[in-house]
């Protein structure tokens, strides 16, 4: 695509893209580390995730400030305008995903021992799909690829299925193993957090579609959930 005649405008947009890239990378890492900390009961790693959330919050604030400034100074139109609005929304969404990762990490410390909760084994597979969706959505954003974005939206169904399966399994498990209800409850919340991260990745993908085409993607069929 041709550059703007006023180069400073391109510089502003590139600065925003760089900030989103940094924020996205840190968030992917946070999700990764939180799940690893959970699997190996690695408390120091969990604490690192919690600490690292501060930087992600800072980036969100920086992005918001730069977006407002760019709108005021450049009066962006058409695809520039859509991109800048989408960047603002994506930043907010990525910050939420990082909060969920932090929330998962916090629970690592409170779960005395996860080995007694069998359904835990479902989580890594769910986390794997979720991680791929986050990476895929951010990649689609960088590449401005609406086709890739639509694929991400499709995958959310798998994450929802996982969540529903874990939910049903945990209810049964809790009834049969009331002594580990506390750990079980944490597992449920962690699964819920992963499901929400998947939803947010879908939001990013929808935003990518909007930036490129000017329209939201067609409504996907919402599956009824167990809740």
């Amino acid at each position: 695509m041709t550059e703007h005649t006023v180069k400073a405008f391109d510089n502003d947009i590139n600065a925003l893209r760089a900030l989103i890239a940094e924020m996205g990378g840190l968030t992917e890492e946070a999700i990764d580390n939180a799940m690893r900390a959970l699997a190996t009961h690695d408390i120091p790693l969990a604490r690192k995730v919690v600490e690292g959330d501060k930087r992600i919050d800072e980036l969100d604030a920086q992005i918001e400030k730069l977006v407002v400034q760019t709108i005021a100074l450049r009066a962006p139109l058409a695809d520039d305008l859509r991109e800048i609005i989408a960047v603002l929304k994506i930043s907010n969404v990525v910050e939420r995903m990082a909060d969920y990762a932090k929330n998962i990490a916090k629970r690592v410390e409170t779960i005395r021992s996860t080995s007694t909760v069998e359904p835990l084994s479902l989580l890594p597979s769910m986390a794997q799909i979720t991680r791929e969706m986050v990476k895929g959505a951010l990649d689609a954003f960088v590449a401005r690829d609406p086709v890739k974005a639509l694929q991400i939206i499709e995958r959310d169904r798998a994450v929802d299925d996982f969540y529903n399966a874990i939910f049903r399994t945990m209810i049964t498990f809790m009834m049969e193993n009331p002594k580990v209800i506390s750990e079980s409850a944490h597992i449920m919340f962690i699964a819920k957090n992963l499901e929400r991260i998947g939803d947010h990745a879908t939001n990013i993908a929808e935003m990518v579609h909007y930036i490129v085409t000017g329209e939201k993607p067609p409504e996907r069929e919402k599956l009824t959930s167990v809740e």
Binding site: T2, E3, T5, V6, A75, L77, A78
Partner: protein, 273 residues
């Protein structure tokens, strides 16, 4: 417009109608304009609707002002200019031999970039047109016409106590509103504006934009502007011209948020490549 001799002052205030899907006020089909051998406008077809403001945007030399001038035959004053195609006002071809050009220019008024009040009093500036067209029978009628025109142009309160002062003594913004009042005084149906705010400061510009908003209920307005933010602010329809061609025409909100043509997008986002 009435063919009877009813003076303007006795006509009832025109009602501001709700937007309706009526026939366009003016219609251009397959218009080509030549200056000698050089073609300035290439096969342009476009409608101008009542109750709305249409903005013509495009880079310098794209033909937007030339095309604007075809709408009230101002190009007739340029010796080398030749206009082909059809342009209608209420369905009547304005280039037909039977068309009264003077009357046409009263019905399709024009306001220019540089305010050009006559070197006469404020009152006479506004009264001149109605007097020539025989639109007021008495002094009282004319007073009413002048007052009504200046009120509609948003200038009455500022000048009502000094109507005998020269029009050229007003500020730039006031002069431009005087010129708009002058155009309104002959009860036009369409008002053409060629970069009406280019010579004005932001406050005067804002007042004119507010005036345009008030006027659009009564008149079809076409505005040529270099300023894309202005086109975005005041118009409901926008037409993008490039190298004498009409590249894209649509709802202003669509043109500025999601234009269909690459050239339109490049122009409005500042990618002149």
């Amino acid at each position: 417009m009435s063919d009877t001799a009813t003076p303007l002052s006795q006509m009832s205030e025109p009602t501001i109608s709700a937007p309706k899907m009526s026939a366009p006020k003016m219609s251009a089909r397959g218009v080509n304009v030549f200056y000698g051998e050089k073609q300035a406008i290439n096969d342009v077809s476009i409608d101008v609707d009542v109750d709305s403001v249409t903005a013509f945007i495009g880079p310098s030399g794209c033909g937007k002002s030339t095309f604007l001038r075809t709408l009230n035959r101002m190009n007739d004053t340029v010796a080398s200019a030749r206009v082909e195609g059809e342009i209608t006002l209420d369905g009547e071809n304005i280039y037909s031999s039977g068309m009264d050009v003077v009357q046409l220019r009263a019905r399709v008024g024009m306001v220019f970039q540089k305010p050009n009040p006559f070197p006469k009093s404020i009152y006479e500036n506004v009264a001149y047109g109605p007097r020539i067209h025989g639109l007021a029978n008495s002094k009282a009628d004319m007073d009413a016409v002048v007052e009504r025109s200046l009120r509609q142009a948003g200038l009455w309160d500022e000048v009502k106590d000094r109507l005998q002062e020269s029009g050229t003594a007003l500020s730039g913004g006031q002069q431009q509103r005087l010129c708009i009042g002058r155009a309104i005084a002959v009860d036009p149906e369409v008002i053409l504006m060629d970069e009406p705010c280019s010579a004005l400061d932001p406050i005067a510009t804002a007042k004119i934009e507010e005036l345009i908003h008030d006027l659009r209920g009564r008149y079809a307005i076409v505005i040529v502007t270099h300023n894309m933010q202005q086109a975005a602010r005041v118009s409901q329809k926008t037409a993008f011209f490039h190298l004498g061609t009409l590249v894209e025409y649509g709802a202003t909100s669509d043109i500025f948020t999601n234009p269909r043509q690459e050239r339109t997008k490049d122009y409005i986002t500042g990618r002149y490549g």
